[in-house]
């Protein structure tokens, strides 16, 4: 059976530590642009942690929300790419073929979540970060759009390993860099087509909601939130 990769983000567990952001930078060779560029909106992050406040001083409640590519089943970014650089993989991921990308940036405008990062300049890494680039992930050049791949290099590697050993992938055998680094286990990655996987179990929780699910993009990232659960219970 084909896999359908999904991620669950438990907002009730997220502490906002941003370990996932750092892990993603390291795993996927996402360049750091420096504070001047970041200040004018050029920061490149495949996953970012959004922060909001509920209530006023002196008792504000801080809430964090990791936002990454939602790997939509009906992705607005894919249809608009003139060169098929944004495409749909057979495992339901929103792929991005860097070599095909000519940089129209149409996909980034079409994305309601603004999770696509554009290489405004050629990337560079401060020493010693330049020594830790992941050899499994290509480095992107100027003028190219990039985005979260659900660590497709890890998925492929695990699949090849399982195939060599002539067995099925086990739940929890592979995970993304962000989920792996999450200390509070707020991020859980797995196969949604496997009804017994942890991600399937969590995704069908009554705390589950999709980010802007009303747009009809059919995201594969699910957010768990007590607020949503309470709303569901009250209705």
């Amino acid at each position: 059976m084909a896999h359908k990769w999904g991620l669950v983000v438990d907002l009730d567990r997220c502490t906002g530590c941003e370990a996932c952001v750092v892990a993603c930078h390291a795993e996927n060779n996402v360049p750091t642009v420096g504070k001047d560029q970041a200040a004018i909106g050029r920061a490149m992050q495949w996953i970012r942690v959004e922060r909001s406040w509920e209530g006023d001083f002196p008792n504000p409640k801080v809430r964090f929300q990791p936002v990454l590519c939602q790997q939509c089943d009906a992705a607005p970014c894919e249809a608009v790419c003139p060169t098929y650089a944004s495409y749909h993989t057979e495992e339901g991921l929103n792929g991005q073929a860097y070599n095909r990308c000519i940089g129209t940036r149409f996909c980034a405008n079409a994305c309601p979540y603004t999770v696509r990062s554009f290489n405004f300049f050629n990337p560079s890494w401060q020493k010693p970060l330049n020594l830790q680039l992941n050899p499994d992930v290509s480095v992107r050049s100027v003028g190219i759009m990039e985005k979260c791949t659900f660590c497709v290099q890890r998925i492929k590697s695990a699949e090849i390993q399982a195939e060599a050993e002539k067995r099925d992938l086990k739940d929890g055998e592979l995970t993304t860099a962000c989920a792996q680094s999450c200390a509070s286990k707020a991020l859980v990655f797995g196969d949604l087509n496997d009804p017994n996987s942890e991600v399937s179990r969590l995704a069908s929780s009554n705390r589950a909601a999709k980010l802007m699910g009303e747009l009809g993009t059919k995201p594969n990232v699910t957010y768990l939130d007590r607020g949503a659960w309470q709303d569901a219970k009250n209705s």
Partner: protein
């Protein structure tokens, strides 16, 4: 190519000259197709101008549009199917969006055929033996006979002068 011609100030006298040449062509041994008429602007309502009216270019334009539509269909639908890419449940060649490109290529086909029909119909480009007299740009109309027989030249001249021309000129075929 040698042309014996005269310049006429207005289309009425030009028409008279053309009529006279038509009447004389069998007697003077030249074909009707050897009659040359050249003007610096189109004239409507005179036999010499209206004898070429045809509606065929419209038909050709429609034909070209059909060719364009066919190319559009081939390009969008057939090539997409020949080059299948996994689109995640979205149709590989959706009719409505392909229709936009088919539409544009249909119009392109019509436009290009109109251009080709003009070039073929008006025998353009043609750089050899362009008959010209600068006075046609001042509103005069040139009427003459291309390559008349030596023996009948005198009669052609009289024919042209009889219609109201002041003088008969000769174009020797020297191009630029």
């Amino acid at each position: 190519m040698k042309v014996l011609y005269a310049l006429y100030a207005d289309p009425e006298t030009a028409q008279r000259a053309v009529d006279a040449l038509h009447a004389a062509c069998s007697e003077l041994n030249f074909d009707e197709r050897q009659i040359v008429i050249i003007s610096g602007e189109p004239h409507e309502g005179y036999d010499f101008a209206d004898s070429h009216i045809t509606r065929r270019p419209y038909g050709w334009a429609v034909f070209g549009a059909a060719i364009g539509a066919g190319c559009g269909y081939l390009l969008t639908t057939l090539t997409q199917r020949a080059y299948p890419i996994f689109t995640g449940g979205m149709p590989l060649s959706p009719m409505w969006t392909d229709g936009i490109i088919v539409y544009e290529l249909t119009m392109l086909g019509a436009i290009l055929t109109a251009l080709i029909t003009l070039l073929v119909g008006a025998k353009l480009p043609n750089f050899k033996g362009v008959i010209k007299d600068p006075e046609i740009w001042l509103g005069k109309i040139l009427v003459g006979v291309a390559d008349p027989l030596e023996s009948s030249q005198q009669d052609v001249q009289e024919c042209l002068l009889g219609a109201g021309a002041a003088e008969v000129k000769q174009f020797s075929g020297v191009s630029d």
